[in-house]
Amino acid sequence: MADPVDPQIRQQQRDVFASKVERAREMTIEQKFLLTLQLSEEAMEWTRHIIQAENPGWGPEEVAEEIRRRRAIQRRIEDQGLFVPHHEAGEQDS
């Protein structure tokens, strides 16, 4: 099947990927772990700011609850077919 993407754009995608791969190969596991933490922190912070801006009257607890609600939706989508509710008695440990 023919590639529907313009060959020039496809080549640019390959070049960007190759450059990212090159940089990643030069990083240690620790550097990548720390970068993941930093990126995730920034992404969460960004989401928090957006939710706060959309809901100026909300306090930190309501913002955290909205993040939890959105995460639950995302998890439901990602879990489809891979996770099912677990109701076995005696397994709860909290």
């Binding site: 990927f17 990212k20 791969v21 990643a24 190969r25 596991i29 620790e30 990548k32 772990f33 720390l34 970068l35 993941t36 933490l37 930093q38 990126l39 995730s40 922190e41 920034e42 992404a43 969460m44 928090r48 930190p60 607890e61 913002v63 955290a64 609850e65 993040i67 939890r68 995460r71 995302q74 990602e78 879990d79 077919g81 891979l82 996770f83 099912v84 509710p85 677990h86 397994e91 709860q92 440990d93 909290s94």
Partner: protein, 183 residues
């Protein structure tokens, strides 16, 4: 407390409680691939009766274990979600199962020291990240595998990977990703 501190605190508590564990999910695939942001952290623990209660007590009242548990259908692993209430950050705790590959990857896990955070974390090997993510096959899993394969290709134990992908009937997927990478 920032999410980074949450994760470090939970890892320290798990270690102090002598609960064998490994950090899986995006934190492990990123360690061998490209860093991308993730909404939560995933940890496999060798569960023992009462250990989640002990963990909850040790990390304090701002953390709550979600009462809704889920079951991962490929290995039968039970998942609990530990949430840090002030920010909504979540840590998914998966119980180690008797599944042969779950056992094998747990045996092969490795320690990585993070001096900047003054903590040691335990991660699966790159081979086991590939095998596990090929097994789960979600879009993000396959994207992560593609990157890990490209970055780690020359260092991977291919006999080990192919043994498990044959067992899991995912070799066709592995070959397709490798073919895409070489084209």
């Amino acid at each position: 407390m920032k999410n980074t501190d949450c994760l470090v605190e939970v890892i320290r508590a798990i270690s102090e409680l002598h609960i064998p564990y490994m950090v899986v999910g995006a934190y492990s695939s990123n360690a061998y691939g490209l860093s991308r942001s993730t909404n939560d952290a995933d940890i496999v623990i060798q569960y023992r009766e009462g250990c989640l209660r002990e963990l909850g007590r040790m990390v304090g009242g701002d953390f709550v274990v979600d009462p809704q548990m889920t079951l991962e259908v490929r290995t039968g692993s039970v998942r609990n979600v530990l949430r840090y209430r002030p920010t909504g950050f979540e840590i998914e705790l998966f119980r180690l199962t008797d599944d042969p590959h779950d056992q094998a990857r747990f045996e092969r896990r490795r320690n990585v020291l993070l001096p900047a955070l003054n903590v040691e974390v335990i991660l699966p090997t790159a081979e086991d990240v590939v095998v596990q993510k090929l097994r789960w096959q979600r879009d993000k899993d396959l994207a992560d595998v593609r990157v890990v394969l490209e970055i780690q290709r020359a260092r991977l134990d291919w006999n080990y990977i192919r043994h498990w992908t044959d067992c899991h009937q995912t070799t066709h997927l592995l070959d397709r990703l490798l073919k895409d990478l070489s084209s």
